[in-house]
Structure formats: structure tokens, C-alpha cells
């Protein structure tokens, strides 16, 4: 069986359905992920999540829903927390993409990461990368959010294990550390 990507058999529309005998068009996109450049060959409809997980083996961002509703795929794009599952890869050229793998700097954990560990905000961990990304985007904007504001910032991040309680605790704890208030 031939394994060429360019035989004109059909091509998938973004939301299902096959167009027979249409040539598959692929283009190169250069992605800056966690400070490294990656050149990838993608179809127009490839999501950033697909490229990260299936093509580049960057598996920190997870696929919980594919519809932008659960937040497990969140990454920072130019500092904003975005769902990689609803972001097209070709639109990401020239953007700074940071995944959970890029949150620790030179092996030093971000205060959010240590707070999540210490405050028990991690159970199964599947929502954790997305939660930390959303939390980082929040704390980079607002250094002293109220508990209400933290909850609102997590409106697009679902968790089934923690009831969100210790996640909110951890974000508050990290915010205090980042303000220089917590000396543990």
C-alpha cells in the first residue's frame, strides 16, 4: 500500500464530508513553540492541537473535547490563553506559542506549578496544563485577582476531579508568591 500524502483521492472538509478526487493541498507553516522554531507541512484545516500532539509530539496540551469547551488544550498565543483545538495552525505563523512544557524556565518551576502541587490542585492532572495556562494568562494581567475573578477566568476550563476548590486556592497562593507576599 502506497503511503503518499499527495495522491488525489479526496480531502476532508473542516467539519466532515469528503470531496472526491480533489488534490490535497499542503503548505508549510513556521511555528514558534516554547522558543523553538518548527517548520510543519499542514493542510488548511489542521488545528494547532493536532500539529502539537500528533505531528510534533508536544503532548502537554490535551484533547478533552475538540470543540473549545473544556480548556484542556489551552496554550498561550502571544500571551493570551487560547484553545489549540479551535485554532488553525496556519494562522499561527509569527505568533509566540507557549505550551505547558514552556512554563517552567530553565527547569525552574513557575510559582503556579509549585502552588498547584502544594495546594492539592492536581488529582488526575488532565485539566492541569490548561488550568495553569489560563491561570498564567490571568496573573500576567491581574496580579491580585479576587476568588470570584479567578473563577471567572477559569470559565472555559473544566475539571471533574477537584470541584475547582484547590485550583482556586493554588492560583491565589501563586499570585501572593508572585507579589512577594508568601515566604514559604
Amino acid at each position: 500500500m502506497k503511503t503518499s500524502n499527495f495522491t488525489p483521492i479526496g480531502s476532508l472538509r473542516p467539519f466532515g464530508g469528503v470531496i472526491p478526487n480533489e488534490r490535497i493541498i499542503m503548505e508549510t507553516v513556521s511555528l514558534n513553540i516554547n522558543g523553538e522554531q518548527h517548520a510543519v507541512l499542514v493542510e488548511k484545516n489542521y488545528t494547532l492541537l493536532y500539529v502539537l500532539r500528533e505531528m510534533l509530539n508536544i503532548t502537554g496540551p490535551k484533547e478533552g473535547c475538540s470543540t473549545g469547551d473544556c480548556g484542556t488544550c489551552k496554550v498561550l498565543i502571544d500571551g493570551q490563553a487560547k484553545n489549540a483545538c479551535t485554532t488553525l495552525a496556519i494562522r499561527c505563523e509569527d505568533k509566540e506559542i507557549v505550551t505547558i512544557e514552556g512554563i517552567a524556565i530553565n527547569g525552574d518551576l513557575h510559582p503556579l506549578q509549585t502552588s498547584f502541587v502544594k495546594k492539592g490542585a492536581v488529582q488526575c492532572g488532565f485539566c492541569t496544563p490548561g488550568m495553569i495556562i489560563s491561570a498564567k494568562a490571568l496573573l500576567d494581567e491581574n496580579e491580585k485577582p479576587s476568588r470570584e475573578e479567578v473563577r471567572q477566568a477559569l470559565d472555559n476550563n473544566l475539571c471533574r476531579c477537584t470541584g475547582y476548590v484547590k485550583i482556586v486556592d493554588a492560583i491565589e497562593d501563586a499570585a501572593a508568591k508572585m507579589r512577594g507576599e508568601n515566604h514559604e
Binding site: 500500500m1 502506497k2 503511503t3 500524502n5 483521492i9 479526496g10 480531502s11 476532508l12 466532515g16 464530508g17 469528503v18 493542510e43 489542521y46 493536532y50 500528533e54 509530539n57 503532548t59 502537554g60 496540551p61 490535551k62 484533547e63 478533552g64 473535547c65 475538540s66 470543540t67 469547551d69 473544556c70 484542556t72 505550551t99 505547558i100 512544557e101 512554563i103 517552567a104 518551576l109 503556579l112 502541587v117 502544594k118 492539592g120 492536581v122 488529582q123 488526575c124 492532572g125 488532565f126 485539566c127 492541569t128 496544563p129 476568588r147 473563577r151 471567572q152 477559569l154 470559565d155 473544566l158 475539571c159 471533574r160 476531579c161 477537584t162 470541584g163 475547582y164 476548590v165 484547590k166
Partner: protein, 761 residues
Amino acid sequence: MNKDLSLVGTSQPIYDAYNKVTGKACYTGDMRLPHMLYGKLVLSTEAHAKVLSIDTTEAMKVPGVKAIATPFNTPNKKYNSALRFIDHDIPRTESVFSETVRFVGDRVCAVAAIDRKTAEKAALLIKVEYEPLPSLLTIEDALTDGAVQLHEEVANRLNSIKNEVGDVEEGFAKADQIFEDEYQTSIVSPMALENHVSIADYDDQGRLTVYSSTQNAFSVRNILSDVFEMPQSKVRVVKPTLGGAFGSKIPAVLEGPAAALSMMTHRPVRIDLTRKENLIASRTRHGSIVRLKTGVMNDGRIVAQTYDVLTNTGAYVGSAYNVVGAMSHKVFKTYNIPNMRYVGTPVLTNLPIAGAQRGYGSPQAIFAQQRQLHQIAKRLNIDIVELQKKNLVRPEDVDIQQVGNPRPYDCMVRGMTLFDWEKKLLWKKNQKNKNDGDLKKEQTESNRTKRRGIGFAIGCHGNGVFGAHRDFIALRLKMNDDGTFVLESGTHDMGNSLITSQMMLVAEVLKTDLDDIHVVEADTDHTPWNLGDYSSRGVFVTGGGCLKVAGKMKEQILDLAAEMMQASRSDLMLAPGKNVVDKNGRIVSFQDILIYSHSVHQRDILAQTTYASQAGRTSFGAHFAQVEVDITTGEVDILDYAAVHDVGQVINLLSLEGQLEGGIQMGLGYGLSEEMTFDEKGSLINNNLKKYKMFKASQMPEIKIDFIEEGESPGPYGGKSIGECATVPVAPAIINAVADALDYDFHAIPVKPECIKKIND
């Protein structure tokens, strides 16, 4: 409880927390094996139909497609995905792929291709020809005379499970009043954030290795070896990091299809489900109809009670009997009712397969139980607290050997204080006593449409499956060359700190640091047999096993130390830091002892044991809620929430709190917003996470929690479970509060905004 403990009772992060916060933790879906293929399932679009043909010609032409597995080219041996042990006698109605599909989402066939995009393209080109059959989408449909029989082997109305104590007819005859109510609970999704995923790797030695998001490696091995007729020496099942389960990952779901494709291609094949697929093609929580008849004396004593339960078990038998069977014990645990009868009957329908979900029948039955109790209090004009007091089981009422140390009463009393029940009740009473004029004066624009209410509920759940069938775990503890340890434990941690608890228990016994113990999780090649991680057996059974195996290791250490030090055994003690010390202060380290054993005796230091559950014990919890309901929008705002659980002895405080908080999130959704709704064709209408409404962070109340630690022997250090019990009291507590706010009797959950708005209209 026990002040001599150094680790047990402390707060410890989950053992792999650091890997999880950096993205390094490797879940099944993150694994990449050499030459791995991607598998895509084709699911039925019919609720009930014969598959006449599957045309794969076009699909096979797509470059990169390696194999297509169908019911016609794979083993069709029937199995039960919820099989718990090799001789478990439960009806077998499932197959790897279905020649007759019985629900929208049933497995028709699967494609293996070089990457996901190719597999998806090919799957869309497969043409399935169905011959539709009549379909049954509700319990009522399935029980109608002349309804089509969904399986050859069994009737749609499966056998009933019964349990009885005393004489209910006599009891009802004595009762001053009898209340009969019917309650309905919806079909919901366990909704673990990680979708089901399995990787099957069939190598050229004929050995099948399966990495799977499972709670049940040994059962999966049993099923695979049976269906594919392979000796178990050729089948290995491994559990990687698991992204939540809540029971949905107990049954074998994707392992069979993945194995079939791997055997056809001799390459590893990974199949995962998208969320849309997972909602229908994994497992749901049984919907239920509960008919509750309760006979009471005018002073509130319950003298007789019967439960008649019908569960909607979906298209295949699966866990049907397990769930009604579990329910058949749980309803008896909380109260001193002398005459009771339970009858639970699962019913097959053409809907997604119902399976295990946190609470396993208790959320359904206890919702009815606690809802009705609340209403009975109103009907008898008795304070609900007094009514509970009159009937709650106390430790002195029961045979401690048989039943243990049940503390629902303590939970209620402590919870009332934590929640400030009396103060809130008084406020309500005062509001009631105010005349309309005064009330109108208090009303503002914003609170005119708001109604406040309070409610509580007491729930229970078990600790393993003692009494139902075998309940044991085998464990092996090995000393490393430097005196640290590896525990081979066959456990499936799903974020619930099972592993961390085991580390804490072993380290407690051996007086080491947590980091001195490494635990190997379920791998049928490398860990001894474990029943599976469900039924909340992790602390009570597996934990008990950890104490036993650590105790055996301690004996070996002390025996060797006595020999080494030429001391009397009774003069020796374990000391922190992996040491043994004698009464004169002489110290030898575990490493010294290991070297001694290796060099002098050429004998390794390892301890192995099997631990069977010693007793059936019950965990309890009391949950309190205060709500403010907007009668025009139907929105329920939770103003205050408190939960107190009877756990015997806290093992890992951080995890215990986290489990309870998570259980509350699940229960709130169960009560107020979660529901799987199907159209007339049996398709799931709310098939994504926009439309399937789980509680978000902004909807959760601040929660006050506490624990009752009065010990539960023979739990490890007196500990017992919270995992499932955490979610049982939630829905009835919140609905009792909403019912109080609206002065309305609810009989079904979820109570969505639309329901509340209808009442107002």
C-alpha cells in the same frame, strides 16, 4: 484519632503531581510506539439494526490505510465488558464489533491507518448498509408487551435482585401513615476529562500488549484472552497515567477493537474516542425510576420501607446486575428500619451502555430516600432533623463485628454546626412568620424574584465488595540495594491518591520517608493480582493489604537485624531514616541489613502477601446546602455548602478534601444541570460540552468540610472510603434546598432552570 502517626493523617500532594504540572506525565494518548498506527472507530447511526454489509472498497484505497476490522473478520465470541474475574457468571451479550447494532454509538468497524487524518478520511468512506429494527428508547418502551427482544440470551426485563429484612406487610399494617412516591433520575455521563483510549501492540512473537486508560487491568486481560483465544502468558495489560475515570473505565471498551487491528497489521494501534464519541460509546450512569413506599408512625419512626427500582441499563447487559446488586445493600445502611424490602430490576433499551459511575446505584436510590424523607417531615409536621435523629443508625444499635462503626448521626450534627443550620432555619421561620406587608417592604428590585431555601441529605456507600464476591489484592514489597523500596501493587490511580496513600501507609509502618517508597501500578506482567479499582476499595482493602505486606517486611528486617546485631528481637525497633535501633542505641541501616542478607545468606529481601477484605463497612456523609432561586430565570445560586464525612481515619488529608470537593461538583451537576437527552432516533442531542452542562468554576459554591474520625476496624489505621460516598448526598441535599425555597416537591433530577420557570408560570 491516633496521635502516634507521623504520615497518616497529613496532607501530601499526589505522587506524580510534578510531572502533571509540567506536562511530562504520560497518559495513554501521549504514548508513541514505533510504527504505531492510528485507529478510528465507525459507530452505528442506527438505534437498532442488522448490519447487512460493510463496503470498505473506497476506504481501503486511501493511501496509508492498513486494515479495516469488521464483525465479519474478527472474533465474534460474546463477552461481558464488566467481567470482574475469570469465573464471574454474568450474561455475555457484547462482541468486539456488532453484527446487530443496538444503540446509536455501537461499534460497527474500525480503520487502522498511518495517521489520524488518514484514518478519519477512510472511516468516512466506509459504507454501512443497515436493516433497521424497531427500537426501544425508554424503560417503558422496553417493558411494553410485544416489544422487540433486544438479545437472544435475555429478556429486556432482566432478572430482579431482591433483598429483604423483617416483614414489610406487617410493618405497613402497623404504620400510622404510608407514603408512596416515585422518583426519576436521568442518564448522565461520568465525564472524565480524558477520553477513553487504548493502544494494542501485537508483536511477531504472538504476544499482545495493551496500554489502556483502565481501572481494571486484570479483567481486561481476562476478556482479551477469552475473546481472542490466547493464553494469558501472551497477553499483557498496562495502565499508564489515567486522566480520571469515575467508573467509566472499569469495563473493557476500546481494548478489543485495538487488539483486532493490531493483530491484522502486526503494528501497534492506538484508538481513542473524541468527546462526541465518548459520550455515547463508552459508559453512562444508569437512569432510574425509584418507587419508594414508606410507613411511618406519627412520631416519625419509620417502621417499613420498600424500594422498587427500575434501571435503564442501555443496550448490553454489562454492569446491569452489579449496579442493582450494590444498591440492594446500600439502602439498608443508614437507618434502623426493622422491615425493608428492595427489588431492583435492570431493563435493556437501545441507548448507550450504562455502566459504573461514582456511587454505583447509591446516587439514584439515596436521592429518592432523602427526598422522600424531607417531604415526610413536612407531611408529618416534624422537624427534618428530628425525623433523621429518630431513625439514623448509631454505633450502639449494631453488631460492631458485622456492621462496624456507622456515624451518620455524627456527620449530621457536625454538619449542622459547620453550616449554621439552626440560624438559617430560624431566618426561614421568621420570614414565614412575617406578614405580607412587612415582606413587601423588604423586597428590593433584585431580590423580589429570589427565594431562599435550605436542605440537607445523608448518604452512604461501601468499602469494596465484601459479601458480593471475592475482594482481595496481592502485593509484593521489595527492598532496593540501598534500603529504599518498590511496592508492586496492581493499583490504578486515577487522581484519587491511591498510590500516595499506599506510600504513606507503607512508610508509616516502616518509619521511612515517602520518597523511600516507589509504587508500581497495574501491569499484569509485573504486579500481582488485583480485583480492580472500584467500589471504593482503595483505602479499605488495598490499604489493608499495604499494612500487611509492610508488616511482613518489618518482620524480615527485624529478624535479620537481630542476627546481625546479635541482639534479642524484642530489644529492636524500627527508627526513622531507614534504621533499626536496639535498646542501647546501636543502629544498623536497612542498607546494612540488605548487604548482610545478600552477602551472608545470598537471599533477597522481599515480602509478598495476599490480603482479602475482612468485612463489609459503610462510609457516610451529610451535606448541607443553602440556595437562592430566581423564580423568573430558574437559576439556582448556591449561597452556602457544608459536607461532613465519616471516614474512620484520614489517610491523606489533602486528597480526602479534594475527593470530597470533586464529588460535590459531580453531584451538583447531577441535581441541577447534567442530563443526556436523546431524540426519537436514539441519537444524543446534547453531544458536546457546550450542551452537556457540567458545573464550572464560577458555579461552584465555597465549601466547608470536616471529617468524623472515630475509626473503622479493620480499615488501615481505622480508615475507610470517601471516593464514591462523596457524591451520594449532593443531589438530594441541593434539591431539598431548592424544594424548600420554592415550597415544591421535586420528583426528578436534574432540576433545570426550565423546570423551575414552569413552576412559577
